[in-house]
């Protein structure tokens, strides 16, 4: 039973780290502020949820794992809201939107 717990939590953690890595890659390489918000807002939320579920499985049926799942629910609700708030501020301040340059020839 403990081996299955370890393997499952390891799989969830690896998935979380993979999505963290792709979100960071997007944050560094995307051309515009709004596209970078896409990367960090969605990728980070999914990665945090997967990591926290993995850590909760490793603990077993405990009060601590219920608290960890509560953090996961809170992050699932709160992080898209803060992304929305900062993107609304960006639109109202008039940041310019990146458009794809047309190739000549």
């Amino acid at each position: 039973m403990e081996t299955i717990q370890n393997i499952l939590s390891g799989l969830f953690l690896l998935g979380g780290v993979f999505f963290f890595a792709t979100a960071t890659l997007g944050l560094l390489r995307f051309p515009d502020f709004f596209t970078r918000l896409h990367a960090t807002g969605k990728g980070d939320t999914l990665a945090v949820t997967l990591c926290l579920i993995g850590l909760a499985i490793h603990e077993g049926m405990n009060l601590t794992s219920v608290k960890i799942l509560m953090i996961a629910v809170f992050m699932f609700l709160a992080q898209p809201t803060s992304t929305h708030a900062i993107s609304r501020a960006g639109v109202r301040c008039g940041l310019e939107i990146w458009r794809k340059k047309e190739k000549e020839g």
């Binding site: 944050l27 953090i71 709160a78 809201t81 900062i86 301040c93």
Partner: protein
């Protein structure tokens, strides 16, 4: 199992160092705010894994809940301030 957790924590620390590039060089304040929010999210996971390594998870869970709360409230406060400046 502990070595696996240590490797995951070091990997996420490396990702935090990569995001710090966007904090320093991001043109304008908006990029910096988004990057700081991302750093806060990764710090939360590092805190919990450190709690596992010390075998005292129930102490570190309370701290990480508070950090998630303050990250959220801080991001909204900065967004409201930048919106009002217009």
């Amino acid at each position: 199992m502990e070595k696996f957790f240590l490797a995951v924590a070091l990997g996420i620390c490396f990702l935090v160092l990569l995001v710090l590039y966007r904090v320093v060089f991001g043109p304008g304040v908006f990029n910096r705010v988004a990057a700081i929010s991302a750093v806060g999210t990764k710090t939360l996971i590092i805190l919990l894994i450190v709690g596992f390594l010390y075998r005292r998870v129930d102490m570190f869970v309370d701290i990480s809940i508070v950090y998630a709360l303050l990250n959220f409230i801080g991001c909204i406060a900065v967004a409201k301030y930048l919106e009002m400046e217009q």
